[in-house]
């Protein structure tokens, strides 16, 4: 279990029958990846408390299954776009942790040499095409990537992640309509974690089930248990395969929860404690663990995975800390070509 790359389904959804011999292996790989993201986020928080992370951060503990389940449905050459809450999305597709940590700390070894920071982690070699700090702004770009894939004809797919709060902004609407009209191979993945900043979804939208929004674009849509990575992968595979086959866009509403506040300065007190408790009990790592145990993976192996990830994260964090800040010439570099 040393590979960091999510398995590529190469266009054919793997079987998922009980007794499927690959299931335990797949799930273990996804569990490993989720554990990596969890540990990474905890370490970002620790670094932040040590004043080593400038600016703000938006952590994704609790939402790992969405990023990992979707990534598991993708080909290596597919495109993804995401948001300021994007650490999970980039790690799920294999971003190097040293490069990610260094970026978040504003160092020269950062994936964007410290110019973007936590909200802007991108790596085009991994199809990580855009991290958007303006709510909704990534969706039209994702549609353009999908249109390109459609013109290319190679079956590539574009996947874009966004939050429940993004479904109310104009860019969302324009992007979904454009995708529908173009039948573009794009999957819209809404991570409905019930809150946009401090506002509950039912405070800003006339209903909680955001999949309903897709009917306005005659787009297939599905509510998904976003905390069960196998469920996410299954739904994502269906949507991705539909897109690859020329069936056009889909909308996945992944119901999930963020364990922490919106950003570094938010303790998240506006959330009822029963709600928090209920969702903590549905922690995606716990759900995957239970399933793995059911499939016969020993507890000790799971603990070992977790330990290994913790160690890998610590090593990467240390390596990133050793990086100097970017040189002064970076200031005016990369503005135009």
């Amino acid at each position: 279990m040393t590979s960091r790359k999510p398995r590529s389904s190469a266009g054919r959804p793997a079987a998922e029958r009980p007794g499927d011999p690959t299931l335990a292996g797949d799930l273990l790989a996804m569990y490993e990846r989720m554990a990596q993201i969890r540990e990474f986020e905890e370490q970002v928080h620790t670094l932040f408390l040590k004043d080593l992370v400038p600016g703000t951060t938006h952590l994704c503990q609790g939402q790992e299954a969405v990023a990992v389940g979707v990534a598991a449905a993708l080909r290596r050459d597919d495109y993804t776009t995401y948001t300021y809450r994007g650490h999970g999305h980039v790690l799920a597709r294999g971003m190097d942790m040293v490069a990610a940590f260094a970026e978040i700390m504003g160092r020269a070894a950062g994936v964007n040499r410290g110019k973007g920071g936590s909200m802007h982690l991108t790596d085009r070699r991994l199809g990580l095409m855009g991290s958007f700090a303006i709510v909704g702004a990534g969706l039209p770009v994702a549609v353009g990537l999908a249109r390109a894939a459609q013109l290319d004809g190679g079956g590539r797919v574009s996947v874009t992640f966004f939050g429940d709060g993004a479904v109310n902004i104009g860019a969302f609407h324009e992007a979904l309509n454009l995708a529908a009209v173009w039948k573009a191979p794009v999957v819209f993945v809404c991570e409905n974690n019930l809150y946009g900043e401090f506002s509950r979804v039912d405070h800003t939208t006339p209903f909680e089930d955001l999949a309903r929004r897709a009917t306005a674009y005659a787009m297939p849509a599905e509510p998904v248990d976003g905390n069960d990575v196998l469920v996410v992968r299954r739904s994502a595979r269906a949507a991705v395969e539909r897109a690859r086959a020329g069936g056009g866009p889909s909308f996945l509403e992944c119901k999930t929860y963020r364990h922490r506040g919106h950003s570094r300065s938010d303790p998240g007190r506006y959330r009822p404690s029963e709600e928090v408790a209920a969702w903590m009990a549905r922690d995606p790592l716990l759900i995957a663990q239970a399933k793995l145990v059911e499939l016969g993976v020993p507890d000790a192996q799971l603990e070992a995975v977790r330990q290994a990830q913790r160690a890998a994260v610590a090593r990467a964090s240390d390596a990133a800390l050793a990086s100097p800040p970017p040189g002064p010439d970076e200031l005016e570099r990369d503005v135009v070509g």
Binding site: R107, G114, G117, M119, F132, E197, S199, T204, L331
Partner: protein
């Protein structure tokens, strides 16, 4: 706390201006994301929801075009809405409502429909928020007739200009600087109730005029200290209003000092400095002892990394150096 106290933060000054305006006129309403029970992302509106309730402190979805447009409608119907855009950069997603609708409503209706509307936003760099959350956006508004634009640098002005903006019959863009929120400053509740369109002499001097806005004002003042140590007596003017601009104040100062340096937190190519220099040159050419100089950001988006961000911003040392060279 009570307004009688002598020191307030910039954040409190804005809050109290909102509160006092709302107490004085029940047509004053606030709209924005999480400004209600949550108190606002910058905590500016803290407590206002408790005092005024959800009909006057309205949370909105993330829909800046929607709620700025709604604020226009509220203003048309006789209310005095104050829309909070959170980060100044987010004006971009409401830009049509601001420049094509709000700014032109009075004119298109031949005066039938003035729009008493305030748009608040927190601009500026220094907080390590990277390129999409660090712009002052001052330059975007400089050729938009029909808008008034103010940019306070201290609690006293923040209070007075916000009261003036809310009282104003026209759309006013009120740009705050997020680094200044915790900054304390003297405050007199009945103090200077400055109107929109007047600059302030933040420090009197006779050798060189430094003109700045927002967080560049404290930097210019600090540069003036450096200069004073070298025997150069700088005058510092805080523009406060970008539209209308207080040209007479600047021209009068430069007539005395013969030298002008502008300091703005944006690239100078489209900043207000060029206009100011051109106006000063046109009106006081003969009084100039040296060509005016402009300081601003490099021609680059704002980088995240602290070392780069710090290097991008005009430092007091750099300001002082430019002024010193000019005088010397």
């Amino acid at each position: 706390m009570s307004l009688a106290s002598a020191e307030l933060t910039y954040r409190e000054a804005i809050r109290y201006a909102l509160r006092d305006a709302m107490r004085a006129d029940e047509r004053v309403l606030l709209l924005g994301e999480d400004i209600g029970a949550a108190g606002g992302p910058f905590k500016v509106t803290d407590g206002l929801f408790a005092e005024f309730g959800g009909d006057r402190v309205m949370d909105t979805p993330i829909a800046e075009t929607g709620f700025v447009g709604a604020a226009i409608g509220l203003a048309l119907a006789g209310y005095r809405p104050v829309a909070e855009l959170m980060f100044a950069d987010f004006a971009a997603v409401a830009w049509d409502q601001i420049v094509n609708q709000a700014a032109k409503y009075r004119y298109l209706s031949a005066g039938q429909m003035p729009l008493p509307l305030v748009i608040r936003c927190g601009g500026g760099a220094g907080a390590r928020f990277a390129a999409q959350h660090s712009q002052t956006t001052e330059s975007w508004y400089l050729s938009v007739p029909g808008l008034k634009v103010v940019a306070p640098s201290n609690p006293q002005d923040a209070y007075a200009l916000l009261r003036a903006a809310i009282d104003d019959p026209d759309p006013v863009v009120y740009i705050e600087h997020k680094l200044l929120y915790p900054a304390k400053g003297p405050f007199q509740p009945d103090g200077d109730r400055v109107g929109i369109g007047s600059a302030r002499v933040a420090r009197a001097g006779h050798d060189v005029t430094l003109v700045a806005t927002l967080a560049m004002v404290p930097r210019a003042l600090s540069a003036a200290e450096h200069l004073a140590a070298d025997g150069v007596d700088a005058e510092v003017i805080d523009l406060r209003s970008l539209a209308p601009l207080d040209l007479p104040a600047v021209v009068e100062s430069v007539r005395r000092t013969g030298r002008l340096v502008t300091i703005e937190e944006q690239s100078v190519s489209g900043g207000w400095g060029g206009n100011l220099v051109a106006e000063v040159v046109a009106r006081a050419f003969d009084a100039l002892d040296a060509p005016p100089e402009r300081l601003g950001l490099p021609e680059a988006p704002m980088p995240f990394s602290p070392v780069l961000e710090d290097a991008a911003l005009p430092s007091p040392e750099r300001i002082a150096e430019v002024a010193r060279r000019m005088v010397g």
